[in-house]
Amino acid sequence: MSLPYTKKVLEHFKHPHNVGKIEDADAQATEGSPACGDMVKIYLKVDADSKVIDDIKFESYGCASNIATGSIITDLALGKTIEDAKKLNWKEAANALGGLPAVKVHCAVLAVDALRTAITNYEHKHGLVLEKKPTTEAVVIKRLSRVINPLAGLDVVKTKLVQEVKIESGNITVWVEMPTHHQFSSNIKEEIIERLEPLWDVEHVEVIFRGD
């Protein structure tokens, strides 16, 4: 009888690689939330010419598999072009760790999602989006459905915290049905901006609380 994790998972858990923050990151992304019990944030530095990821760091709030997957996915992505890094999937991450318990697979998915979102954010910011589709309300809502409402542990769209958005020549306004001084308001505001600002045609994001 032993712990449900492989030796490799425990190694990465005990001594995670590529941990921390990149202050002047070219792109970053957060997936998950403290409400879910798992959260990963990924920072990227990308070489402007070769599009190779030449620095990558992660921060994690979560369980052992969350930390271990953050560690392995950043190992795997480092030195790859963003095109190749985008193709990484959770199975490769899990395999590189020698497997993950079935109930912990969602942690691996989270880290892969964070990497992909960070790359997408980079592409949007650097004009690399192939099909320049204009940001519509549907796109905004889709992105916001990844922002978690810490009160309910579900996303802000499903829990009706966000019911109205407006898009006008690069400016997005998001109304949040929550008091301005709520303990989670600043956290939610930051996450909404992080989700929408990287979109290629978005200039500014305004978050207005109207639950007072």
Binding site: C36, D38, Y61, G62, C63, A64, N66, I67, P150
Partner: protein, 388 residues
Amino acid sequence: MKNDHIYLDNAATTRTDPDVVQAMLPYFTETYAVASSQFSHTPGIMSKEGLDHSRQIIADKLNVSPTQIVFTSGGTESNNLAIKGTFAAFKGQKNHIICSKVEHNSVLHTCQYLERNGAQVTYLDVDKEGFIDPVQLENAIVDNTFLVSIQHGNQEVGTLQDIELISKICNDKGVAFHTDAALTFTKLPLDLGEIKVDLMTLSAHKIHGPKGVGALYIRKDTPIEKLVHGGYSEFDKRPGTENVSGIVGFGKAVEIASEEHVQHLNKLQKRLLDGFEKNINGFRINGSLDMSKRIPGNLNVSFDYIEGESVVLHMDMKGVAIITGSACFSRSLEPSYVMMGMGFTHERAHGSIRFTMSRFNTEDEMDEVVNSIKEIVENLRRISPLKN
């Protein structure tokens, strides 16, 4: 396999006291006959004496008659018998039960089961420290109410309910009162001559007795029906061959338990809390802030910005056994319902860590735990995106 961990999961179960094991041993290989009446053979009478001796020790501890102690297989069965047994006895004439939202699952799941079978259940709220509101309880009692089941001490956060007050409320309203005292029996005075309780759940393995043994105190004339059929033992309340060795172990454990042990638990709890306060920033106590209203030897805290399963795993690798209310740790992948019931955020529930001590723990161990926790919390905060 040797267990050399610092074991701080004593609310789950405790180390069986070696003296308890010694007391039990003859009942496997020598005094092994079925406990029978005095008109039986000598081996049977010897078993019966062992059984009755334990029953007397436990009855004395509660200041009740031994004929009111029914041995069961443990706390879960006792809670089931108390709730389903009274429900059955009322035969639908009364069908309303009141319990709290933070009861042990053996109470909650039993109530939910009865709800699917014709019972009505009111689940009382608890406040931020885990206390029920006696006024809410009083208002919830209706003509149809036959049972109030409120635990004495909470399994996770250690909060103690005022069972004296609750018993008065129930008594005034003429409703039976059941309390799960598995975690408080022998640690806190429970004089049932003073406090009128109708049903009380007890468990052996929470107090250094063996697993698989418990008891239900059933006050005289409390309407209750047996759940298991096939004989007349335990005053026709719980058939089946008595677990004599286990029951003897239970009695021995109660006999050994002392006031010094409780003082030792209080000392350990204080040592751990003082250590956290001196060495760690950003942690919050879960459960009663008044230490005198917690189960002795229970401390439950949340460390800001970090998740519980990581803490528990790091601590395990350092040789300390603790648990967390985090979803990642649970089989259901849901955060602790006790923490959620107290109105905390998911984040605080995911970060909650429970330390429960026993008399076998030492103050040096508490210092070691503080040092380990300090190091782990600092390391996990360093990689947490939530700090600053």
